[in-house]
């Protein structure tokens, strides 16, 4: 039950091991209580993180190995291709550019999902009720986003046929890069204001809290 049991190279449909000994990771699937590869690539077996500190003496009877303690086996493409195409999923934090704004919603293009730059361009939608968590009824889209802004947002739904639904209703979500009407890159001053260093004018945005 270590790296030696799993083969190093897998093709789709190749048996990787019994599901009782491994947890399925990305690029694998389970069929008939066995783990099979579903991608062409190299097999990685990740051992579960050990609990820090010395092992405690057992003071109570626990059920035999919980699934979380099994090593995870995953298949990923080798280095020749940099990264496999990924899709935005619910809960992911994405970076996107505002394409156009409407009174009820802002249409954005999702550029980065997690740490991966996407090849395909996916369209997202930030509805007026998802811009911030408080005073939702006072939100105005044009006081929150402008076309061209770079926004950090969270995926809340796969949405309809064309759009992912995104939300910026957290302190660390919102506009992270904005340009003023004069065309200068601005810096954030408050939670809802950006200031242009050249003209000194402020503009309204839903500002992401800097880390």
């Amino acid at each position: 039950m270590s790296t030696a049991t799993a083969p190093s190279l897998a093709i789709p449909g190749q048996l990787l091991g019994p599901a009782s000994k491994f947890r399925p990771g990305p690029g694998t699937h389970i069929h008939d209580a066995n783990l099979y590869s579903s991608l062409l690539g190299l097999v990685h077996v990740t051992q579960p993180a050990k609990a820090p500190g010395p092992a405690k003496r057992l003071t109570k009877i626990t059920p035999a190995p919980a699934p979380a303690e099994l090593p995870t086996v995953s298949v990923s493409a080798s280095d020749q291709k940099l990264k496999r195409e990924v899709l935005p999923e619910v809960g992911n934090t994405v970076l996107c550019r505002v394409m156009r704004i409407m009174p009820r919603q802002a249409v954005v293009a999702i550029l980065v999902c997690g740490d991966t730059v996407l090849d395909a361009e996916w369209q997202g939608l930030i509805r007026v009720q998802d811009v911030r968590a408080t005073e939702k009824d006072r939100v105005k889209i044009y006081e929150s986003f402008r076309p061209g802004d770079i926004v950090r947002a969270e995926v809340i739904s796969l949405g309809d046929q064309a759009n992912y639904y995104l939300s910026t209703a957290r302190n660390e979500l919102g506009v992270i890069l904005a340009t003023s009407e004069a065309g200068n890159t601005m810096y954030p001053v408050t939670w809802k204001e950006y200031r242009d260093p050249a003209t000194g004018l402020t503009e309204m945005r839903k500002v992401a809290k800097p880390y």
């Binding site: 190279l9 093709i11 789709p12 449909g13 190749q14 048996l15 690029g27 699937h29 069929h31 099979y36 579903s38 991608l39 062409l40 690539g41 190299l42 493409a77 080798s78 291709k81 496999r84 195409e85 899709l87 090849d119 395909a120 361009e121 996916w122 369209q123 796969l158 309809d160 046929q161 064309a162």
Partner: protein, 286 residues
């Protein structure tokens, strides 16, 4: 549908005339099969041939020893997963679209630039074969395009002398399409439960005077006097599942076992093609 946008070549056959003199007569008879009945032709498969596509593969099946008979050359490119067009409805899983196109020069009869019904038919069969192997729900709201160009169509220039039916050639082409698309999908990194491969088995009559029939895999129409029936099978070897079955021809209704044997041989041919596929995929990584 006529193609009025391009300047097309002559519609008929584009081969030089063959004169019927004494020395050529022996070439025109059915040569008979040069391989054992359960052996498929040698094939060459390579992935990653098109850099701009997400995944691609190239398949070549050797030509027979007889002059004037071409082999099969297929090029497949996979684009995606990518976002669906705005007009299409919501889909919780990946949307597969397959395009099979004969190059205009691929067959004896020149093909048009637009897809004709037989090419659409091949595309539909291919989609059915692949849909059974793809784990579609890993990629919601996305689509993948599988485009196959048949560069050389595995046809005998003298087919009209033997049998004018193109369907038997289409079956060989489909089995190649399935194998090459499977390799290209694996190259593109789209989740599949198994590597699907195609195989063809046929019931043939070897001499015109004799009524005995035999079952062969990977048939070349020019090697046999007559093909009575054939089936093309897409098969998942580790799952032991058939994802697509295309059967055509006449079998004696009394003999149900013949039908089963034909399908078994088709599965056998597909398993043989799969060995090439596995070998090719193993060679790409490492």
């Amino acid at each position: 549908m006529t193609d009025r946008r391009r300047i097309n070549g002559p519609a008929g056959a584009t081969i030089p005339p063959v004169y019927d003199d004494e020395s050529r007569l022996d070439l025109k008879t059915a040569t008979g099969r040069s391989r054992p009945p359960n052996a498929i032709r040698k094939m060459y498969l390579k992935t990653g041939v098109t850099p701009s596509a997400s995944g691609s593969a190239y398949l070549e099946i050797e030509t027979s020893g007889k002059p004037g008979v071409s082999g099969l050359k297929l090029s497949c490119s996979v684009h995606g997963p990518r976002s669906l067009p705005r007009s299409s409805p919501f889909s919780p899983h990946i949307v597969l679209s397959t395009h099979v196109k004969y190059a205009p020069f691929a067959t004896k009869q020149r093909r048009g630039y637009l897809r004709d019904p037989s090419e659409r038919d091949l595309g539909t069969h291919l989609e059915a074969a692949l849909r059974g192997s793809i784990i579609a729900d890993r990629w919601p709201k996305s689509g993948v395009d599988i485009i196959i160009s048949i560069i050389e169509g595995d046809q005998d220039r003298e087919t009209s002398r033997f049998q004018g039916d193109e369907v038997w050639d289409m079956m060989n082409a489909l089995s190649g399409c399935i194998t090459v698309a499977s390799a290209a999908l694996a190259d593109a990194g789209i989740d599949c439960v198994d590597t699907v491969a195609g195989g063809v088995a046929a019931l043939v009559q070897n001499t015109s005077d004799d009524s005995t029939t035999s079952i062969v895999v990977d048939p070349i129409p020019s090697e046999h006097e007559k093909i009575l029936a054939a089936c093309c099978i897409a098969y998942l070897p580790t799952r032991d599942e058939v994802t697509n079955l295309w059967f055509r021809g006449d079998l004696p209704a009394s003999d149900m076992e013949l039908y089963t044997r034909l399908v078994e041989q088709g599965i056998q041919a597909s398993a043989n093609a799969n060995r090439v596929l596995v070998e090719c995929l193993n060679g790409t990584v490492g």
